[in-house]
């Protein structure tokens, strides 16, 4: 029992230390993107609201191992005429992470994003002028052990 108590307090303590030490992820991530990018992000957010549910694959972890490196993959290679793939983190100040205009490349993108807190992550695919989305909630928790 005593050990358990110690362990618990140890975890709490080190987690705080980790968060401070790493200084990696602010609780709210409002990124200093350019105005141009912000406009693109707003446009993506607007089309997100209007988009119907996509039939493509969007792979993102349910629980991020490390919020600084969250692997995400959008696979719409089965769809015809994919012209754009965007990835947005809904709870970010500027939600858009990246937007890929594809001209000749297949409807497939894999990358890694960073997330400061739990948020729905939205993949948007535009094919033949129609935009659809798939949303996946990614949980981010502060790590316990630093070292």
């Amino acid at each position: 029992m005593k050990r358990r108590l110690f362990l618990k307090s140890a975890m709490a303590g080190s987690a705080v230390a980790t968060a401070v030490g790493a200084g990696l992820l602010a609780p709210s991530m409002v990124f200093a993107n350019t105005a141009d990018f912000k406009a693109k992000s707003d446009a993506a957010t607007a089309s997100t609201a209007a988009a119907g549910k996509g039939s493509f694959k969007f792979k993102a972890p349910k629980i991020a191992e490390n919020g600084a490196v969250v692997p995400v993959t959008v696979d719409a290679s089965k769809m015809e005429g994919v012209t754009q793939i965007s990835i947005s983190v809904a709870n970010n100040g500027t939600p858009l992470a990246a937007s890929f205009n594809l001209s000749g490349a297949q409807g497939y993108v894999s990358t890694r994003i960073k997330m400061g807190k739990t948020s729905p992550v939205v993949a948007l695919v535009t094919a033949g002028g129609v935009t659809t989305k798939v949303t996946q909630e990614v949980k981010v928790t502060i790590g316990g052990c630093g070292g």
Binding site: F31, V69, A98, A105, M115
Partner: protein
């Protein structure tokens, strides 16, 4: 900035293009010793296949440090793949590789 690792590999008529760019991708929001680290991240990236642009991407600082990307393009062994990027400070980088 740093180096780019570009690895195009052809398989069944499709080149899988893997790229890893050494870049801090600073958001401009991170503090180090009480001071904000200035934003320093890639904003634009273009991938070409035998001289034709196949991917033109707008990149934000939400993309992880030392960004990794993978794209697929129809092609064959020996094709030329080029990647170019520009960051918010105006610095550019590029790499070219022949597909394996």
């Amino acid at each position: 900035m740093g180096s780019i690792k570009l690895k195009p590999k052809a398989r069944k008529g499709v080149i899988g293009i893997k790229a890893l760019i050494k870049h801090p991708m600073e958001t401009g929001q991170r503090k180090k010793k009480g001071k904000l680290v200035p934003a320093n991240h890639i904003v634009h990236m273009v991938v070409s296949h035998n001289g034709t642009v196949v991917v033109d991407a707008d990149i934000g600082s939400t993309v992880s440090k030392n960004p990794y990307f993978k794209f697929n393009v129809a092609g064959a062994k020996g094709d030329t793949i080029e990647l170019k990027y520009k960051d918010n400070k105006g610095k550019t980088g590029s790499a070219t590789a022949k597909s394996k």
